[in-house]
């Protein structure tokens, strides 16, 4: 124990949220922001203690959307959990599908055909683009931009959702990937339509940036606000654009080499300050990189089967064992941890939700900031409550 005591002092400085002393004689104002508070992306509460307008304590309260995903999945077959994963992060159902399929494939040792891998990459990157665009839109909405950036983001999102719908049948809850492949094959017409949409995306991002990036109000409100230091980010398990906004070069697409990401040339944008603006810009730049990946994938997609021939839909029972599969979802590291006891249902089914873990540092980022900034910092984390509470 002695080792722990001496060493934990070294990290104590950044391991706990710093304590901010109220400096006025005035009493603290306790405000409960949420759970229906307009700013909280749904149902989330922050118990904030304010000294004037300054935040001196902030406790997030979760669970308003706890839908027992894990419990339901433990009572359902492996396949039946797939549509439920759509409803985790309901912006990015396809990446959720992929993460779950990846975990099950690891658990059962299935191979995925090449064409299916390409389709997965295309869908995942489209998902990433629409998620990042919407996130920025919502961030600006919270900044009071009366919805215009959000409208533009959703205008593009609708185009991408049309692609999803014409391929998978549903706009949001795609339920598309299967263990060992994908459900239906893409047609050439679909690929052409996708190419057309992808060709229009850079113009959209240019427009978005013209509207926002140089805006003085945006800069004044975002720069230097909600700073997250890289060492704290790593220690607190932050992942995704938020981690990269703090300057840590860690992209699971590059690190884990899952799927076929090794075949594509793309770069990982990194921020230097770790503030809201960096998170915003990292998202913008990631969208641009995603377009580069999409161009390559749409160019190279091979013909072939889309399902592992050994895969079966009914009566799927993996061997006993366990597996942890993770991918770089738009919000961060999305992992599925499965324990199989040989039955048709997973014995243990666990989602590693990036949204929840990224909120760990919410208090650290908000302390000492203005209460109006809390909303922005929260928006810049990019969470979806379905994934936070599951």
């Amino acid at each position: 124990m002695s080792l722990a005591e001496t060493k934990s002092e070294k990290v104590a400085g950044w391991n706990r949220p710093p304590v901010v002393e109220p400096d006025g004689e005035g009493e603290l104002l306790e405000v409960a922001m949420g759970p229906h508070h307009p700013s909280t992306h749904g149902v989330f509460r922050m118990d904030v203690a304010l000294d004037g307008e300054r935040v001196i304590r902030l406790k997030p309260v979760f669970g308003y959307l706890h839908r027992n995903h894990e419990k339901i999945a433990e009572g359902a077959s492996y396949l039946a959990s797939m549509p439920y994963t759509d409803r985790l992060d309901y912006f990015c159902s396809l990446t959720n599908n992929w993460a779950y399929a990846l975990a099950v494939e690891k658990l059962s040792g299935q191979e995925v055909p090449e064409r299916a891998e390409y389709i997965r990459v295309i869908l995942a990157e489209l998902t990433r683009i629409q998620n990042h665009a919407s996130t920025i839109g919502f961030l600006l909405q919270e900044m009071g931009a009366s919805g215009t950036p959000l409208m533009y983001a959703f205008r593009e999102r609708e185009k991408i959702l049309d692609l999803f719908e014409s391929l998978t049948g549903s706009r949001m809850m795609c339920n598309y990937m299967r263990f060992g492949g994908c459900r239906v094959d893409v047609s050439t017409a679909w690929l052409d339509a996708t190419r057309k949409v992808v060709a229009g995306l850079p113009g959209f991002i240019d427009e978005f940036e013209a509207l926002l990036t140089a805006n003085e109000i945006l800069m004044a409100r975002c720069q230097g606000v909600g700073i997250l230091k890289p060492d704290l980010a790593v220690n607190a398990g932050i992942s995704g654009p938020m981690l990269r906004g703090s300057g840590v070069n860690y992209d699971i697409r590059k690190v884990d080499h899952y799927g076929i990401y090794d075949r594509f040339k793309f770069r990982v944008p990194l921020g230097d300050h770790g503030d809201i603006y960096d998170r915003y810009m990292v998202r913008v730049l990631e969208m641009r990189e995603s377009i580069i990946i999409l161009d390559q994938a749409l160019r190279d997609i091979p013909a072939g089967p889309i399902m592992d021939p050994k895969a079966k839909i009914r009566g799927f029972r993996p061997k006993p064992g366990e597996a942890y599969g993770r991918i770089e979802a738009p919000k961060g590291e999305l992992g599925f941890y499965l324990i199989s006891d040989g039955g048709p249902n997973p014995y243990r089914y666990r989602v590693r939700p990036p949204s929840l873990i990224n909120l760990t540092v919410l208090e650290d980022m908000c302390l000492g900031q203005n209460v109006a900034d809390v909303v922005l910092i929260f928006g810049s984390v990019d969470i979806v409550l379905g994934e936070v509470d599951r």
């Binding site: 359902a76 077959s77 396949l79 039946a80 959990s81 797939m82 549509p83 439920y84 759509d86 409803r87 215009t148 533009y152 205008r155 609708e158 049309d162 719908e165 014409s166 391929l167 998978t168 049948g169 549903s170 809850m173 339920n175 459900r183 239906v184 427009e207 013209a210 509207l211 926002l212 990036t213 140089a214 805006n215 003085e216 109000i217 945006l218 800069m219 839909i313 009914r314």
Partner: protein
């Protein structure tokens, strides 16, 4: 910080404002009740039951095997199996559902019932305008409301329906050939074979309770 970013943004919104009068790209509204976004061919909302021919009760493909009832993730399907049998599309006597209810107030449109159905009997509809003020009567679809003709299926999912039809025709031909062979063999042996076995790739109803 002289306000040029703000001006740039204002120019952008002005471009969109005036663009909305000239370009369809910048006025994306589809005025719903009058005009509609074309439905994607793969679109799915709620399941329906396919029947062949004109008579919905007689032509229903469903054989009440109850696989979909078991596999349905939110458990919104209820099937009662008949006591007697009636001939299916291939002329083979099969059970049929005396009750087939789908509670669309629970259904999550996941299409798993379609995927697991070995008889091509349940398919996804594209009809989404089902809002009602009556939760109990309006959102529980029974087999009569669920039954849609194969022609309807062809109108909403033409490619898929054609594929299904050809597959079924193939199987029917196979079954008929088999039956014919069996009949011939039987005729030869002068012994009647009561029921030809179902094809191997179509397991019989999983839930025979």
């Amino acid at each position: 910080m002289l306000g040029e970013g703000i001006l740039k943004g204002m120019a952008e919104t002005a471009r969109n404002f005036f663009g909305s009068y000239v370009s369809k790209e910048r006025l994306t509204t589809v005025e719903y009740p009058e005009e509609r976004v074309p439905t994607a061919e793969n679109a799915r909302v709620f399941p329906f039951l396919v029947y062949d021919g004109a008579e919905w009760e007689a032509g229903m493909r469903c054989v009440a095997c109850q696989i979909c009832e078991k596999e349905c993730p939110p458990k919104c399907i209820l099937i009662d199996k008949s006591k007697d049998k009636k001939p299916d599309y291939a002329g083979k006597p099969q059970f049929y559902p005396t009750r087939f209810d789908i509670d669309i107030s629970v259904c999550m449109s996941c299409q798993i019932c379609v995927e697991v159905c070995p008889f091509e009997a349940i398919k996804m509809d594209t009809q989404f305008e089902l809002a009602t003020d009556d939760r109990f009567a309006g959102l529980l679809l029974d087999r009569k409301e669920l039954a849609k003709s194969n022609e309807y299926y062809h109108t909403i999912h033409p490619t898929e329906a054609t594929e299904v039809d050809s597959r079924l025709a193939e199987e029917k031909a196979k079954v008929e050939a088999k039956a014919k062979a069996a009949a011939e063999a039987a005729a030869a042996k002068a012994a009647a074979a009561p029921n030809p076995a179902p094809p191997a790739d179509k397991p019989p109803a999983g839930g025979g309770d």
